[in-house]
């Protein structure tokens, strides 16, 4: 050990609490904002305007809603929306996989960006950069042969 235990203990307590408090300062207003989005159906309205984006990504139009919800509000709301949509009107398997590709690369963009911002990362790079990467990965995956069984090709032709 290169430091005494009292130094170590002090660093653990002050450091972890200041991290949590820093995160909280952004988290509380954000959670309230996200709750407003949820209650006033902001995402549903926005999704209608952004439908053309799905064509670029290689998805079918209804996929925009879970995508948008997960990107902006976080993965819990996103999966919730996805599961609910699947119950009413199942998405094709290809869309399901592609949405997951996008999800995993980029979710909860407001929350995570703000939190990493407090840790000192460049906010613009981690928000816009992530969106771009998620879009590129999804576009590439949509055109890869591995995701395309014969049944998906039919779906695309419709």
């Amino acid at each position: 050990m290169t430091a005494s235990w009292s130094v170590i203990l002090n660093e653990i307590v002050t450091g972890s609490f200041s991290t949590v408090i820093n995160v909280l300062k952004v988290l509380i207003p954000l959670m309230i904002l996200i709750e407003f989005f949820h209650v006033f159906h902001v995402m549903e309205k926005l999704a209608k305007k952004l439908t053309p984006v799905t064509k670029v990504l290689g998805l079918s139009p209804p996929a925009i809603l879970p995508l948008l919800v997960a990107t902006v509000m976080g993965v819990t709301y996103g999966t919730g929306t996805l599961i609910e949509m699947n119950r009413r009107n199942p998405l094709p398997k290809k869309d399901f996989i592609l949405i997951a590709v996008f999800f995993f690369t980029c979710h909860g963009i407001i929350e995570t960006t703000a939190i990493w911002g407090t840790a000192g990362a460049n906010i613009l790079v981690i928000s816009v950069g992530r969106l771009l990467f998620a879009a590129i990965f999804t576009m590439v995956a949509a055109r890869l042969p591995i995701f395309k069984g014969p049944e998906y090709v039919e779906e695309q032709a419709e």
């Binding site: 949590v20 995160v23 509380i28 209650v39 980029c106 460049n122």
Partner: protein
Amino acid sequence: MNLVIQTIKDGTIKAVKTTLTLMKVVLPVYAFVVIIKYSPVMAFLERLFEPAMRFFLLPGEAVVPLITGLFTDEYGAIATASQFGFTTAEITTIAMIGLVCHSLPVEYALSRQIGLPAGRFVLFRVFGAVIVGLAISRLGGVFL
């Protein structure tokens, strides 16, 4: 108006709940990493991972938040990343790699549950994180 108040209340409750889960992650992770940092293990880790990290233009210590992020979550990675004096460019790279590829055990279980090829998605995320890391570290050198 009632709805607005209710919404604010719900949001705050969710934030408080998140804080509690946050504490559960941050406190043990932070303690563990501080101890690692001052122990001889750190020097060994640094030496071991320095060549790999140089790939992403990062110092050897950067491996600690990255590994923490893989197994815990973003909050664990943040708690770890704030302990070392990384520059803006470095922390942006760490953030991007960590954001693409984090909490693999939990999210593996989750993706299995909703019926995705979970193993393939783990591979995809690791692969994606490498690409993202390479690209962002190069960009970071130019812009930050």
